[in-house]
Symmetry: C2
Subunit: 361 residues, 2 copies
């Protein structure tokens, strides 16, 4: 395939490809979006997936429509990612006016998909592509799944033009990202009375234990983000890490965020500051699962103060962090992680999608 | 109870109480040791525990005897902890010759137990006790269980003499401890050929998911230790965190260390450096579970290079780290963690044992 590293310095435009999950941008997109989710063997493992996937997707569609209706009818991911891309592009142009840098977007389950994005990159005749995974913490269900789709698209339509590929594969402890989280916490804490004393509840998307058991470091990486934030705050507050948005009858990473809120309320905790980690933009998991469901649970559990910190979105501090990561990777002062080419010990797939992109590490 | 903080500066000797799990020092102690383990509702949760505990303990006795026979007949914990205490005492005397400092030991399931240790402290007429939990990462099953027993002993036999109490409750990211782990890794890596390329496999004792689900940060704290070590090494190696020594039919933290070794071998990994974290001395979990069982699994899985890093034991760098932690807590520059008084959201016990010791934070 066409992914072998290009030996000479690239002569031509460079693209930064923001690669994420995406979401249904219109209510009519909810059905097709779910169909794509349930067809992805990296994300959801089902027996007889080609048969069972579409069936389950259909049974979940109406419930999901209701949830999206409560946050405005559809997902804000496309809109927010476009704003991030625009802000990142402007920031990169300011930092490197001489470079021919373009920011493109590709979504795993929505438009623009990898095929659309690759066509745009080809049309620009790019000589270099830096794939920027929009998941701070690596999971096969998300990061590897996105790379798998990109790799398959590249194998299906090989490029004639030489192109150098790079990947920002995980960045949960990037100093700029940590600093964004710390500053958001400090801002909130300094703008609110010190009592009742806050507990910081970090919450990340859960992962099925079956996937954890295969040897993914996802939970370790999420915990490291929490550690870096708490370290920057001098461990000056009690804190917990919990996992949210689990669905279906399988076992997931624990503890669950809603259970933790219930228990904290039972023990008389009055104030909780919820810190979502691992989400780059607001979407159903923050706007519905946290702002609606969790906030209601908190109220029922007797908490008097419940505050959810914002997702990064296009906050200038986060865009600065993104730009710094991009430039460090383009300059070669940062490389893909050593774990990128580490196949999960219990991998069930024929090949690891990361192998296509691991040549640089 | 007698644990309220003492307002004046203590006038009298200070004791550092190393509080750990202990192990059967003689083969004849294996039975009673197991009886105590299976009677502890913080460590092992059984229905009808007073009936079922002794029964299960009896069924496991012979298997455990065989395992201890393979590592010399009994547990080295008592002997190694005594050496740590002696070395720590000497180090503290060298650093603070003017202070009247004594190091005592208490084991949760072995001799000297808390009653023996408290009698020794009373006889010394100590004015201050710093409880130094020998678990770097907090878990109710270990840390809280040990504090519960100590608190109960103090309530049962109140002290007439005024005494100031402190706790070192968790220290998995203590810079001295991290530096011990990093140096042990660097020593091994610098003394061995660079090929085959090593994978670092961090392994910590597993925790039942039922306990994790109650909202304990154990896994987060273990992951933070791994993160600090990898950060000091510049993330220059692929690495994984897995959990070991799970027993019984319940679900435990994942991935399991043996499964990870099997999978790594299957994918052609030749060399693994095993880094035990969370153990302060060698015992069955390192000498049998890692050096015998895991080493055999590694060989069968096709690994050509398998190396297990030493437990801290009385390594001078680790004793230095212990001494620095003790002095920082005695001087007041370090305090118990803010999480010490945080009751687990899903706590099933009548009271949190940490409450007795949380007055300082």
């Amino acid at each position: 395939m066409s992914l072998s590293p290009h030996q000479q310095a690239p002569s031509g435009p460079t693209a930064v490809l923001l690669l994420g999950m995406g979401g249904p941008a219109e209510a009519t997109e909810i059905g097709p979006y779910l169909q794509r989710l349930f067809a992805d063997p990296h994300l959801i493992e089902l027996p007889f997936q080609p048969l069972l996937g579409p069936l389950i997707a259909r049974t979940r569609r109406d419930r999901l429509r209701q949830r999206y209706a409560e946050i405005g009818g559809a997902s804000p991911i496309a809109r927010l990612t476009a704003r991030q891309a625009q802000a990142l592009s402007a920031r990169l142009a300011a930092l490197r006016p001489e470079a021919d840098l373009h920011v493109e977007i590709a979504f795993r389950y929505a438009q623009p998909d990898v095929h659309t994005a690759l066509r745009a990159l080809k049309a620009r005749n790019v000589a270099r592509v830096l794939v920027f995974l929009q998941y701070p913490h690596w999971a096969c269900a998300t990061s590897a799944s996105a790379l798998a789709q990109l790799g398959a698209a590249l194998r299906a339509e090989p490029w004639s033009q030489p192109c150098e590929w790079g990947v920002i594969d995980r960045w949960g402890c990037d100093p700029g990202y940590i600093s964004f989280l710390v500053q958001a916490l400090r801002d909130h804490l300094s703008q609110s009375p010190p009592t009742p004393a806050p507990l910081l509840l970090f919450t990340a998307h859960a992962l099925p234990m079956r996937q954890v058991a295969r040897g993914q470091n996802y939970a370790q990486e999420v915990a490291a983000t929490v550690h870096e934030v708490m370290k920057a705050l001098g461990f000056a507050f009690p804190y917990l890490l919990s996992y949210q948005s689990a669905i279906g009858p399988v076992a997931w990473l624990q503890p669950s965020t809603v259970d933790v809120i219930d228990g904290l309320g039972r023990h008389g905790q009055q104030r909780v500051v919820v810190v979502p980690v691992g989400f780059t933009t607001d979407h159903l998991e923050t706007l519905y699962d946290l702002d609606i469901v969790l906030a209601q649970r908190a109220q029922r559990a007797g908490l008097t103060h419940f505050h959810r910190l914002p997702a990064p979105n296009d906050a200038p501090a986060f865009i600065d962090a993104m730009a710094a990561m991009v430039l460090a990777h383009l300059d070669g002062s940062a490389l893909p992680s050593m774990n990128l080419t580490l196949r999960c010990p219990g991998c069930q797939h024929e090949r690891c999608p990361a192998d296509d992109f691991g040549f640089l590490s």
